[in-house]
């Protein structure tokens, strides 16, 4: 059993894993009780398991624990809290932008990454940035509104 020292939400967290290829997702959820990231496909296709890795949205089902060492990882829990939400989270709450909410982790993480590199994206840029994040409930319109709101803009 090897131990991988990972920087997660501002703390170095040791992760024990027998398999260096074990995806980070399972360590977050089962070992660190960080269940914000969700298992959706395990194929990197849906985005439900996204985390920020050095500010970029990465699918934690495709990132192994060994690859995670030396990187700065932020999960949905590290982004903000109910008391002190990140602006993207606050905008999602204001717009009530979740139904079942299973995809919400991926939406918030990817939106936060987008706004980190582009403070005032156009609606089309938001759509493109979220193009590989799937939602089944049909909450897309509210999610777009929330991201526009988080960037200080109103949906056209």
């Amino acid at each position: 059993m090897a131990v991988y020292q990972c920087s997660i939400n501002g703390q170095i967290r040791p992760i024990e894993a027998a398999d260096p290829d074990q995806p980070l997702l399972y360590a977050l959820r089962n070992d660190l009780s960080l269940t914000g990231a969700k298992f959706g496909c395990g194929l990197g296709q849906c985005g439900s398991c996204s985390v920020l890795v050095d500010g970029e949205a990465i699918r934690s089902c495709q990132l192994s624990v060994s690859q995670a060492v030396g990187k700065t990882i932020t999960t949905l829990e590290g982004l903000g809290t109910i008391d002190n939400p990140h602006p993207v989270q606050a905008a999602f709450i204001t717009e009530q932008a979740a139904q079942c909410g299973y995809c919400a982790n991926g939406m918030v993480i990817n939106a936060a990454a987008l706004l980190g590199r582009n403070h005032k994206p156009s609606l089309d840029e938001v759509k493109q940035a979220l193009a590989n994040n799937l939602c089944r409930c049909g909450t897309h319109d509210r999610i777009l509104r929330a991201v526009m709101r988080a960037s200080g803009q109103v949906m056209p």
């Binding site: 894993a17 027998a18 398999d19 995806p23 399972y26 959820r29 089962n30 009780s33 269940t35 914000g36 990231a37 969700k38 298992f39 959706g40 496909c41 395990g42 194929l43 296709q45 849906c46 439900s48 999960t75 949905l76 982004l79 903000g80 809290t81 109910i82 008391d83 939400p85 989270q89 999602f92 709450i93 009530q96 932008a97 979740a98 139904q99 079942c100 909410g101 299973y102 995809c103 919400a104 982790n105 918030v108 089309d124 938001v126 759509k127 493109q128 979220l130 193009a131 590989n132 799937l134 939602c135 089944r136 409930c137 049909g138 909450t139 897309h140 319109d141 509210r142 999610i143 777009l144």
Partner: protein, 744 residues
């Protein structure tokens, strides 16, 4: 996080987050037995006809509402407390809602058929009204005043024009109501509503977007093992050989085999996933399925085969359509097909079972926890009162997806090992093995008379026949394990909305019932109505076009229901609809319209759509969707609006992209590339008008709008380019074929 820690969203947290009420998750004791049969407060019942089934008032003045229906991401968690608080005379934040827990909530039936508010909420509202009347009666007696002088507010009975007030808790004095629900207990006048009709925020959203919401998938139980079920390489195949050596290198893996049910179990989830992937299993006897591209032909052939036909039935007959059609100068005919589709939940199903000698506890995201309780009792051969199902939010299910199956899997494995077991399906499991929406084939014939009016209409359908009084669909795990269970099909009510809601002097609606479906079917959102409305509302447009009539005018002249007229006119107004026949002249831009009166007795929906098509690529771009929606009394307009948005976008996805593909062995569309969904770049502008009817009963908003989407899209495509799409999904290839020959 263990389950006993689940209620970690305290009331203060939620209030701080801007939410208006408490969400409670029934906490469970650490001991299995207590967990299985929690101590109920004195007088608390599980009966649907008693106030104490649904409502408990605490000494501190707060109330707990026990709701047999569950919030599937639909907003019931705020809407039900709004209804209860309004009638009871309590602040909504003083209400705690417990959902679906079979040990605590009355069985109000599955949260299906858009019935959460319409039936579940209405039942609880009546219980609240009965409770309020009882409290007023108690105060009247205590004060010796006439009831008419008393009102309720904020948890008190108040004597009009005085300072006198009595707290509900003081009146009850710790006792239960011990009352049957009075169906005649008066309901509050809607003019006096202070909670119903308000867009109160949902209490779960802040937690959902900060990673604090306790989903089914996040629940852990002390000593819990992770399991993966290995499904056969062909439907119904049996195990020929298992090579255990292939996973010898993996530590801590147990193989559970019960006949052809096979699972791998480990304390570590990733190890279980690897074991499921790496264990070499040889399967025998492939399935002999129809294949997705041959379903239409199979349906027609099966109807003519006595071994496969479940009979013909006339559902509706008026006048003499056959004679009228024979005598008509021009008769149109067309057939429409809706394919098998997956519920395609974002999160594959997950369940936990703890099967012990002294009781069974199941954690589930099922839309039907009470039904699931019976399923688990039967497959485990336990009396019903030994089984408790605790509800936790899952990924949206939109019908019977894999939620029930996964719990049956977990129950079998937990029973075999005597330990709590969590089963998480894979993406391939969910798209491959969730029960599917059944296929539907419809053939229409119709004619327009010399005055340009609809003169005759015939619908003939080919549909799998649901098995009467089937308690549940056969579960995959028990089936493989050789456990006897009731056999049959479950589809939801799929033959409704099969004729136009417009004047039709001569009408015939027939169905060819089939004994089987190509893959195990279940109810999927707006069961059947989505396909039938697609066919009916497309064919109405075809008839209008043949008579060179404006499709909206053609509808409106045959529509008399004022609520139906209102939603149609609202959409026309929002689209600035100009009367003209289809197709338009532009060749690439089009508009379409569709109207549905759901089940002919529920919600009214009209949808208009604006599209652009590309002739070269066959691509369809939906630019704008306009919807007018009348579901009677609106409890929470923002949650209702969100349901309508979800109905529209999900159905746009189903219409444009979705078909479960399968070969002779099994489903082959098992990831998001082979089973694509609508993505953000496909999302049009949405304009939604909710027409409130404060003095009418509340109806469902969970599925009606779905039914109006596909035809509005097909009609808009036809208007854009003169090509008629009659087969779902509307792929670019199909549009190119339709452009070449006029239809596809």
């Amino acid at each position: 996080m263990t389950d006993s820690n689940l209620p970690h969203l305290n009331r203060r947290d939620l209030l701080r987050a801007g939410s208006a009420l408490i969400v409670a998750f029934s906490s469970s004791a650490s001991q299995a037995q207590q967990r299985n049969t929690p101590q109920l407060k004195a007088g608390k019942t599980l009966k649907t006809d008693e106030v104490d089934g649904f409502i408990a008032l605490a000494p501190d003045g707060t109330a707990t509402i026990y709701c047999g229906k569950v919030d599937l991401g639909t907003g019931l968690r705020i809407a039900i407390p709004q209804m209860a608080a309004e009638e009871l005379g309590l602040p909504v934040e003083d209400i705690t809602l417990i959902e679906g827990d079979t040990a605590l909530t009355p069985d109000q039936g599955p949260t299906a058929g858009s019935s959460g508010i319409m039936r579940g909420g209405v039942q609880i509202r009546q219980a609240a009204a009965t409770a309020r009347e009882a409290l007023i009666g108690m105060a009247a007696q205590q004060w010796g005043k006439p009831r008419a002088e008393l009102t309720v507010s904020d948890g008190y009975v108040i004597a009009d024009g005085t300072q006198d007030r009595l707290a509900f808790s003081a009146l009850l004095n710790g006792k239960p109501f011990a009352l049957k629900i009075d169906e005649k207990a008066p309901l509050k006048n809607p003019a006096d509503y202070s909670l119903v009709g308000k867009p109160l925020p949902r209490p779960d959203i802040a937690a959902k977007v900060t990673g604090q919401h306790p989903y089914m998938h996040d629940v852990t139980i002390d000593g819990m093992l992770h399991a993966r079920v290995i499904r056969p390489h062909a439907v119904g195949a049996s195990i020929a050989a298992i090579d255990e050596n292939t996973i010898k290198a993996l530590p801590d893996v147990t193989i559970v085999r019960i006949k052809n049910f096979l699972a791998v179990v480990s304390r570590n989830e990733w190890t279980a996933i690897r074991a499921a992937k790496e264990l070499k299993v040889t399967w025998s006897n492939p399935a002999g399925l129809v294949g997705h591209d041959k379903v239409k032909g199979w349906m027609v052939a099966a109807a003519g085969d006595p071994a496969q036909s479940a009979g013909k039935e006339v559902l509706n007959q008026k006048g003499d359509s056959a004679k009228t059609l024979t005598e008509s100068k021009q008769v149109l005919s067309a057939s429409y097909y809706w394919p098998l589709q997956s519920h395609a939940s974002m999160g594959p199903s997950c369940g936990i079972a703890d099967v012990r000698a002294d009781g069974v506890t199941i954690w589930s995201a099922s839309q039907a926890t009470h039904r699931l309780r019976g399923i688990c009792a039967r497959i485990l051969e336990r009396p019903l009162d030994q089984v408790r199902v605790i509800y936790r939010d899952g990924s949206g299910c939109y019908g019977t997806n894999g939620h029930d199956d996964v719990c049956a899997d977990a129950a079998l494995i937990s029973k075999a090992l005597g330990k709590p077991v969590r089963v998480q399906w894979s993406r391939e499991d969910e798209l491959g093995w969730d029960p599917k929406g059944p296929p539907q084939l419809l053939a229409m014939r119709g004619a327009v008379n010399g005055e340009g009016k609809l003169s005759a209409w015939e619908t003939e359908m080919w549909l799998p026949k649901a098995t009467a009084s089937l308690p549940n669909i056969p579960m995959l795990g028990p089936e493989a394990a050789g456990i006897a269970q009731p056999q049959g099909l479950s589809t939801g009510l799929i033959s409704q909305n099969a004729h136009p809601p417009y004047a039709h002097p001569h009408l015939s609606v027939k169905v060819n019932w089939l004994k089987d479906s190509p893959l195990r079917p279940s109810n999927i959102r707006a069961p059947g109505k989505i396909a039938n409305s697609f066919a009916v509302e497309s064919f109405i447009d075809e008839l209008a076009a043949s008579a060179q009539r404006d499709p909206l005018e053609f509808r409106l002249e045959g529509l008399t229901d004022p609520r139906g007229l209102a939603v149609c006119r609202k959409v026309a107004e929002l689209m600035a609809w100009q009367a003209r026949p289809s197709p338009a002249k532009s060749g690439s831009l089009g508009r379409g319209f569709s109207y549905v009166h759901y089940k002919f007795n529920e919600t009214y929906v009209a949808i208009g759509m604006e599209v652009e098509i590309k002739r070269r690529t066959g691509a369809i771009t939906v630019k704008r969707i306009v919807c007018a929606h009348d579901c009677g009394l609106i409890i929470n307009p923002d949650a209702t609006r969100q349901q309508v948005e979800g109905n529209i976008l999900q159905t746009l996805s189903r219409t444009l992209f979705e078909e479960t593909q399968f070969d002779q062995a099994k489903v082959t569309s098992v990831d998001w590339q082979s089973y694509p969904l609508l993505t953000f770049p496909d999302v049009p502008e949405l304009v939604i008008a909710l027409l409130d009817q404060p003095h009418l009963p509340p109806l469902g908003a969970g599925e009606a709008a779905c039914a109006a989407v596909p035809a509005a899209l097909a009609n808009a495509v036809y208007d854009a380019c003169g090509a008629r799409l009659r087969n779902v999904p509307f792929t670019p290839d199909r549009l190119k074929v339709a452009l070449a020959r006029g239809y596809a």
